[in-house]
Amino acid sequence: MQNGWLYIGLFLIVGIIVPILPLLFSRLVAPRKPNSIKQSTYECGIKTVGDSWVQFKAPYYVFALVFLVFDVEAVLLFPWALMLKRLPLFVALEGILFILILVAGLVYAWRKGMLEWL
């Protein structure tokens, strides 16, 4: 357990078990009388029409793509930010160059209309 990841693993396991306990307790205590009206899909009182797993609009996908690009950029910037205190000014300017290349990407996406919620 030198660097603590065993602790995190155990934390995940216990952290999943602990919220399950109220659910199990509820299963003992709560009534269970299912019928078809109760189990129908909720749509403000109207009967549902068609499939529930509908197709989704393209802008959701576009936002996820733009998020992906910037998330990878941010993760790649982590070692730069970590080591910046110990390295000379030139390294800061190199990191800024990297950021500026990706800012150009953001400006491109903006001008192309990818950031609109259409």
């Binding site: 659910l23 269970r32 299912p34 109760k38 749509e43 989704f56 936002f63 950021i99």
Partner: protein, 405 residues
Amino acid sequence: MNLLNDPIHFIAQWLQGLLTGWGLSLVLAKVILALISITVTILFAMALAIFLVWVERKVVARFQDRIGPNRIGPYGLFQPLADIIKLIGKEDITPALADKFVYNLAPVLALASVILLWAILPLAPNIYGVDLNVAVLYLVAAGALGTLSIIMAGWASNNKYALLGAFRTVANMISYEIPMVLVLLIPTLLAGTMSVKGITEAQSPTWFFFLSPLGALIFLISAVAELGRSPFDLSEAESEIVAGFHIEYTGMKFGLFYAGELLHAFTFGGFTAVLFFGGYRFFGLENLGPLVAAAIFLVKAMFGYWIIMWIKYTMPRIRIDHMLAFNWKFLTPLALTVLMVTAVMEKLLAGTSPWIYSLGLFLANLAIALATIEILHAFGKWQRKTEASTKPALQAGQYYEEQNP
């Protein structure tokens, strides 16, 4: 190391000696100690979540000029207990054709993702779960698990509107993760380490809030949007679109989502305190003992939670296209600018005295803020001018459609 200064390690050493004395191997003793520590931390977090339900209801009541729950127990303190008893007793209605495993896993994962964050939160110099050396990255990763649970909830509910609500909420959350991760780089940069304990220790002369107020502000806004709380909660507006991705959840499963959201807000208040407001430090008072340091940390975290609640109960809801435009067209460029300027200023002012360092970084942030306001001002003026030139003026009593029949 005695009981007063270092209680956790003292008890851990004693227990370890006890367990190995009974004949267990060292690894097994360490695992049992870890499990005890984990259980205590998780129970503390859950008890805090229950207390926060009461705080939330009292504070929202005061913001709305009423008293809030005051019947059950003194000052309504046992109200959350009554809520829990009610929620446990409700019938658990699973919609027909729902994806059972995913449907049941989603609320558990939502709460688990918040509880996971309590492993790295330092309450005092010697009270913390584990001192990871990549704690900031772990914060982002555990937060992403909560986003996953929302899509699971929306998808498995077999309900078109839950699915759409889940998509919108997740599009919102992932968009606001970008400024959050970028601004998390600023304490990493200023402290030279990713471990939260290291960041707390590195805030010696000045808190990072004074070195980078814009960073703290962007972190707060992104955290509020990340939590899916008002004013960014269009997809799960309790009073408008009937509850979004958790329409089909009843009873304790809904209770887990709700408690998870409140605990998440408090945890982010705690992280704001640790990353920007000095954590458990307060002019040397934390050396008086671990309980004093933990009290200081909890007060700061509660202050952060108070600000989040204040924002929620004061501002109206923002439309989803405004939310996303605000993020991609304003917060992300601003976060990138603050990061670049902080990096350059940090290198330029590296060896100077702490006062000049702090003043230099603070003035740089102030300059960025003023420049941003000027740019927005000029943009607004330009927009009004172009609109006035393309739209002819209205006569009295005329509508826009009448002008061009």
